[in-house]
Amino acid sequence: MKKLIAISTIISIVIFTTGCKKFEDFLDKAPGVDVTEDIVFSTRQNVEAYVSTLYEYGMFSMLPGRLNTAIASNPSTGSSVTQIGTLAAATDEGKNEATFQFVNTWNNAGILPTNIIPSEDYRYYARWKAIRIANILLERIDAVTDPAADEAFKKQVKAEAKFFRALQNFELFKRYGGFPVVLKRYANSADAVEPRSTLAESVAAILKDCDEAIIDLPVSYPATQRGKATKLAVLALKSRTLLYAASPIFNTGTPYLSMADAANNKLICYGNADNNRWKLAADAAKEVLDQAALAGAALIDVPANRKPTLVNRANGNYRVSWERQDNAEIIIADKTMGATSRFGFPWQHVMPVAMGGFFGGTSVTLNFVKKYEDTLGNVVVWNDAGGNDLSEKYASLDPRFKQSIGYNLSRWDANHPIIQTFIGGTHAPGCFGGAWMAKPYAEAVGGGNVVASIPLYRLNEFYLNYAEALNEAEGPGVASTIPPDMPTSAYDAVNRIRLRSGMPNLPLGLSQSQFRERVRNERALELVFEDHRFWDIRRWLIAENDGVMKGAMYGIKITKLTATTFSYLPYSFGTRTFNKNMYLHPFDLNEVLKGKLVQNPGW
């Protein structure tokens, strides 16, 4: 008995410790759950998935989805960026009602190298990810052996990768000037070292990618693939790049502020002023207009809908051009997020608290409303002492006003059919300006889940790019009585945009500088709330002008007189500060301290 027990015990110990599975196997991970890079680059299907990820990371809109993991976290600290307002509130376009929104940081010159990423450039890290994806695609695509991945497919993938790389680089360029040009994937972290390129080299890198991408991208796609990069989208990117490059901030021998070491000034400007850059910009804009028809893109212009009333505003040409998804005017849009309700993002970035928002709406300043002419093209006088004719004034304004701004007695959506911004009105709390920014909140959002289709490029912009660049290169040119779809002068280009919204032609005989003011005003109105104004006033170096990003900002106090008559009284809701160093972003302090980035001037 004893022996039996002893033997069995010893046997069991031996079995237990050695006879079971091989030692290491017990700890090993089960096979078949790893996806490796080689697997991704083994089939066309997987490469398409990776290209889809390129869009997810590389595409963006002015109204980011808050929980989009692609943008939300800082890889080194893991902290997420959550309080993102629309940049309209950093300019004379508007004022955000929520004090916690980082966008307010611009208004009191609180921008610092330590807070620039949450304040404005929350995509900083995602951008480098998108560039890496593009670089990996370029590096690996040729070696895919799947027969389904034919040469045409590979060419197209490379072109898409280059488009997105150029797109990310453009976003760096417009914020920082010259940037580190990253054209390869870093094999290990020690290699990830790249100084800033000069501004000229940086722009050249963007243009090179654009030129190569144009060749292999299709002109258009079937409806099921709408949203993918087309030739026209690249041309649009190229036009915007050349327009920015030709602008006063970069196209100069002396930058707005000198770098700490003047030898570095070429990182933020060309180092000389060259009018030919405007010519290149005009040509690039013209190229977009010329190629648009081929790609099926056109201005939304139904003559009967140029001046919609409040009742049929949904059909207004201008409203359709920004509200209706996949309309003909859109060249490419960000619609990566899927449908969301008004309580989700991105709509929460637009909805005022009074309408159920949590992140604050943006009210429109009087400074900006003053830019709208009346329907006859006359300047509208807003009396400093106020007046009792607010409703009449609103009625007289440029039809685009009604189609983009939620003013007193107009409509928000079915849940808020009458906007009340008068003192004591439901939607007055937080409405500093007197009216709410309504664009790009689509009426349909009030009724259910809607896909946010925020355009990255819309065709109307390129008429204005053309007009601005051509005016700078050659002057306003000659105006046709009825501006043609294919403008050949700066006058015609602006007038074509005004025509589709029922506005008369610009007066004849404007000088180059008079025309410059008109085209800038036109751009402000036509592209309002679409993430243009902030960048335009910086590249024109006018942000420091009183009432733009600096000085007293005005709104109106509205008092109800009768059911339909209201008085207005202008008042200043605040004074903003702008320092010259704010013409370009500071690089994040932490990134600078890592040792390779030269900081922009004044930071």
Binding site: E24, V35, M59, S76, E97, G110, P429, S453, T575
Partner: protein
């Protein structure tokens, strides 16, 4: 697993015995008192019995040559020859307790006298003194070296965070390893305190080395009660308690609120350069003050409306234990019932929004002596929990109460939730909006242990096999109405005739139902050989052990089970229990690293010397006992971050793992709009990864004074951790991919512990005074930090979690101070500083107040000093105990709700104490000013006053009267007549009073740490209990 079962088959063998001669007898102790439950065993057989209450026994033995072994707990065993006597009388001598006292160590027990590691323990009886639901909350203040902090008082969710000897790593998991009866568990909080015999923490390398790769953060071992030989003992305990919040804030009333808000706007208008426009007109203020219009000018105290003053808690426990020489049993069943402290929870007749928590505990520990050599233990336990109530997250709820202002809505009018046409979220809706939830959770644990003597091979050799299975299931149901709140809101509208109409907002809808399920299981297997033998004055013990563990949980990353394997060895030697030596080694592996880097050896060595045992040690009455011990060893930590198995930190060594997911959408939205799934590159790999290494040194002295009336233990420790898994911070973001962690971090943690006990009596008044004090300070030695411009801003070289911020010098009080040309320029707020703003020090003297003036301030949020002090006294049937507990060297950084009013949009509420904010009138009148001027601004990046600074960094030290108990025990004959052996009534209380410097309404133990979630406050419990023994 199959091979284990095969092995057990061989071990399941028993034997049979027969008998002939009848013997009876009586067993007494030295004082001639009868000994109950003494064991009488016929030597060499399994034949045995136990004495009854009068100390007598009957046994039938084989023949007159039989030997009887008589043993009783706490007494020296005796062997007698039966001879021709039919009746025997035996007296047993009490053994010297000190020599025989055992302590729990890793994988076993040891004599306390010869233990050389640093460990501390407490008896389960002390846990029962605290009327807390959760045993982790009853450990506070009891054990030197243990820091426990409770983050929430929510019923069923109120466990404490435990740290042993502070924090030793800045990136790895800081959680100690927890074992219940030798089995690693994830959840121990819900064990009924009545089931627990002993709680031990292992602190130094010598005691934790056997846990190798997981021993670096210390080990907590819980031992449950087992049956003892003797007649069945039945014990029933009933507790009925009242709970209330330890600390709760109060809000400003409507008038104060509106008035202060206007002042805030006035101050802010200077900053914004705008014209001051009061939010509330004088007529508004008057109406708030008079309360004439309670619907449209309400004054709601949200705390009163939503939080109750007190709630109730009950606990029943029934314990039956006993045994014979063959079988011993201990069975315990418990019911715990606790209600939350929400108020206004019955607005919807269909459900009760109150949080209710019920827990059913069951444990059965059985021991079988199958043969003389073969013993089996079968342990089963389960904890079944039910939670019900509002599905709202309590952290969000409390935040919502704090965030709502008194003017927002009239709250509840005639049983209706009434709102005004003002934007804002009212918290009473948030209590009902998420619906009603019921959650069931069940933990089921079973373990089987076989012990076999191998003394036929060599004396002192034993072996054991231990198998355990743990199973967890949970199910959560939520009933919620679609699209509308579960309770409708009514909008108050003033009719033209002056009456008020309440219009329902929205229409009622159907309930929707959702269910979520969670489950996991774990299998542990262990096999060991023990050796213990005495050769003259030489005592030798040895242990060889194999242990493996597999956890299966669908939440684990990659859905792959998690495994550990270890080999453990231990050898101890002592000479006359005077010179002690011990070696512990673990060889273990974790799946988290590449083959080749998986397994490591973790050795520890320790020595001890009982100096008082030496001949040359002067015999004196003062120092009767003196022992020195020291240890050095290495342990590991393989976990990066907490809950790493469900995170991206699993399988860190694997080459860049890609995952399918995400992607973009294409197509025209009206017709064909679809997601095209993406694939994402993972973190790049680092195949060289290995575990964190902790090198720990410990020196200890144990002393006994005046015949051990006073005992003192002092431990000094020094720990250095290398190879802390951390991400390089100096890599440029242009790499565009998450970089893998490397074994680069270095950290140091050192400190000391004191444990002092005094036991004495004045006649029949027995008392014990006990105090413990622990200090642990850590320092980050290396972490690849980006070098800051000013060296004083480096985090390296500081303690983990060190706060940084501005140093304040009070407030600016006058414009003269503001306009002083020597005042530094504030980069914050565009230098728009005014009287009532915080005055910061220009630390780097560059004339500017900016981020570079932020320096290390205060401490971290983990206390460096923890201490406890208890007094226990008894006189005849009366007993009483008091426990004080405290922490020090700890800071609290107030979150925005406690420093700032009117934040958020719509404006949040304001805490009442903010009425002590700066105003010019207050300053001129010389009144108390505790806060800067009111401000409605909270742009976190730039608002000057609410920057991280010493102004809002509190000393979070506290001293708390943690626990008090008074009881009386009856064991007189009257009680015995009704079948009871004793009865005890007692009153005890937890969290009675706290001395602290933090703002009123904040419990320094569970301060809020995040801006949008506030903890459900801790509760004070006052309990009346009854204990009956049969």
């Amino acid at each position: 697993m199959r091979c284990i079962g095969f092995a057990l088959f061989f071990l399941l063998i028993s034997s049979q015995v027969k008998s002939q001669l009848k013997i009876s007898g009586i067993i007494t102790d030295e004082k001639n008192q009868p000994l109950q439950s003494a064991t009488v065993n016929e030597k060499g057989t399994a034949n045995s019995t136990a004495t009854n209450e009068s100390g007598s026994f009957h046994i039938t033995v084989r023949d007159a040559k039989a030997l009887l072994v008589i043993s009783a707990i706490g007494h020296i065993s005796k062997t007698i020859t039966v001879g021709q006597k039919n009746v025997v009388a035996v007296s047993l001598v009490t053994i010297n307790q000190d020599m025989d006292e055992v302590v729990v160590v890793g994988y076993g027990t040891q004599k306390k006298i010869s233990n050389t590691g640093a460990q501390t323990s407490m008896k389960g009886a002390l846990l029962v003194q605290s009327p807390a639901a959760n045993i982790s909350n009853s450990l506070v203040g009891r054990l030197p070296g243990l820091f426990a902090s409770q983050a929430s008082g929510e019923p069923g969710n109120d466990q404490s965070t435990l740290r042993i000897r502070g924090v030793g790593t800045f990136n790895g998991s800081q959680e100690p390893l927890v074992l219940v009866d030798g089995i690693q568990v994830d959840n121990y909080n819900n064990i009924d305190a009545n089931e627990i015999e002993n709680v031990t923490i292992l602190k130094d390398a010598s005691s934790t080395a056997v846990y190798g790769i997981r021993g670096a953060n210390g080990v907590l071992i819980i031992t449950t009660k087992r049956g003892k030989v003797g007649p069945a003992k039945v014990s029933y305990t009933f507790n009925n308690a009242i709970t209330s919040f330890t600390a709760i804030r109060s809000q400003m009333n409507s008038y104060d609120y509106a008035n202060s808000f206007n002042q805030a706007l006035k101050g802010d208008s200077y900053v914004n350069g705008s014209v001051y426009m009061p939010r509330y007109s004088q007529s508004d203020l008057d109406k708030y003050k008079s309360g004439e219009d309670p619907v449209f000018y309400p004054n709601v105290d949200w705390y009163k409306l939503l939080l109750k003053k007190s709630s109730s808690q009950q606990q029943h426990n029934l314990n039956i234990s006993g045994g014979t020489d063959k079988v011993r049993y201990s069975v315990s069943v418990g019911l715990f019932n606790q209600e939350g402290l929400f108020n206004s929870t019955n607005l919807n007749p269909e459900y009760d929004a109150q949080i209710k928590f019920k827990r059913y505990n069951f444990r059965s520990n059985l021991n079988f002596n199958v043969t003389k050599r073969f013993k089996v233990a079968v342990d089963m336990s389960s904890q079944t929990e039910q939670r019900s109530g509002s599905a709202a997250n309590t952290g969000g709820m409390i935040n919502s109460i704090d965030a709502s202002n008194p003017t927002l809505t009239p709250g509840v009018v005639d049983g209706k939730i009434v709102v005004l046409s003002l934007p804002g979220n009212n918290p009473i809706s948030s209590l009902y909006e998420p619906g009603y939830q019921r959650e069931y959770r069940n933990f089921l644990n079973g373990s089987l242990r076989f012990d076999h003597d191998l003394d036929f091979i060599t004396r002192g050799l034993t072996t054991h096999v231990n198998l355990s299975y743990q199973n967890f299931n949970s199910q959560r149901f939520i009933n919620r109405k679609a699209g509308t709140p579960t309770v409708l809101n009514y909008l108050a509208v003033r009719q033209p005739d002056g009456t008020i109409a309440y219009l329902p907002q929205g229409t009622d809808a159907q309930y929707l139902f959702s269910e979520s399920i969670d489950k996991n299981r774990r299998i542990t297997a262990e096999m060991g050989i023990n050796y213990k033998r005495k050769f003259g004055n030489h005592n030798v013990t040895g242990l060889l052990l194999y242990n493996q563990l597999k956890s299966i949980d669908p939440d684990f990353t990659f859905l792959v089970p998690n495994g550990y394997q270890s080999y453990v060895g231990r050898a101890t030697y002592d000479y006359k229990s005077r010179y002690l030596a011990e070696v512990n080694v673990a060889y273990n592996g974790t799946e988290n690293f590449a083959p080749g880097n998986r397994f490591g050896i973790f050795p520890a060595f320790s020595l001890g010397w009982v100096a008082s045992d030496e001949k040359f040690f002067p015999k004196n009455n003062i120092i009767g006992f003196l022992k020195f011990r020291g240890s050095y060893g290495e342990v590991g930590n393989d976990q990066i971050g907490s809950n790493f198995l469900s995170s991206n930190n699993r399988f860190l060594y694997r080459s860049t793992a890609w995952t399918f997911g995400g992607g973009s959408r294409f197509g025209e939205t009206a017709t064909a709009y679809n997601l095209l799934g993406g694939v994402v590159e993972g973190r790049s790999s680092n195949p060289d990864l290995t575990w964190e290494r902790a090198m720990k040194t410990n020196l200890g002295i144990e002393m006994g004074f005046w015949k051990k009336k006073i005992t003192l233990a002092v431990d000094l420790f020094n720990e250095k951790r290398n190879n802390i898994l951390a991400n390089r911070q100096t890599i440029s973001s242009i790499i565009g991919v998450a970089i893998p962690p490397e074994n680069l971090g270095k950290m140091q943690n050192r400190g000391y512990e004191l444990d002092l006990t005094l036991n004495d009596n004045f006649g029949k008044f027995n008392y014990q005074l006990k105090g413990n004090y622990s200090f642990a300070r850590n320092k980050i030695l290396y972490q690849d930090e980006v070098a800051p411009i000013y060296a004083y801003q480096a985090r390296t070289g500081q303690r983990f979690g060190q706060y940084f911020g501005f140093i304040d010098q009070g407030l600016y009080n006058t414009w003269e101070e503001i306009n002083d040309p020597k005042r530094p320029v504030y980069a914050l707020q565009n230098n728009k500083i005014q009287p009532g703003d915080v005055r910061y020090i220009d630390y780097n003297n560059d004339g500017k107040i900016d981020n570079f003036d932020q320096v290390a301030i205060g401490y971290s949020n983990v206390p460096e000093i923890t201490y406890g002090f208890s007094m226990v006294g008894s006189y005849k049937g009366f007993s009483m105990s008091v426990l004080f507990q405290g922490v020090s060297n700890v800071s609290l950084n107030y979150t925005r709700r406690f420093t700032t009013a009117f934040i958020d949009n719509p404006a949040s509420g304001a805490v009442n104490y903010l009425l002590d904010s700066w105003t010019e009138e207050k300053f001129l009148a010389g009144q108390v000013i505790k806060f800067p001027r009111f401000s409605a601004g909270s742009n976190s990046g730039i608002t000057s006053n609410y920057q991280s600074s010493t102004y809002f960094l509190a000393d979070a030290s506290y001293l708390r009267l943690k626990n008090v108990e008074v009881g009386y025990t009856y064991d007189n004959p009257i009680i015995k007549k009704v079948g009871l052996s004793s009865a005890r009534v007692f009153v005890n209380a937890n969290n009675l009073y706290t001395f602290s410097k933090v703002y009123k309404g904040i419990d320094p133990e569970n301060p809020p740490t995040s801006g949008n979630s506030l903890p459900y406050p801790l509760v004070r419990t006052i309990n009346l209990g009854l204990n009956l023994n049969f």
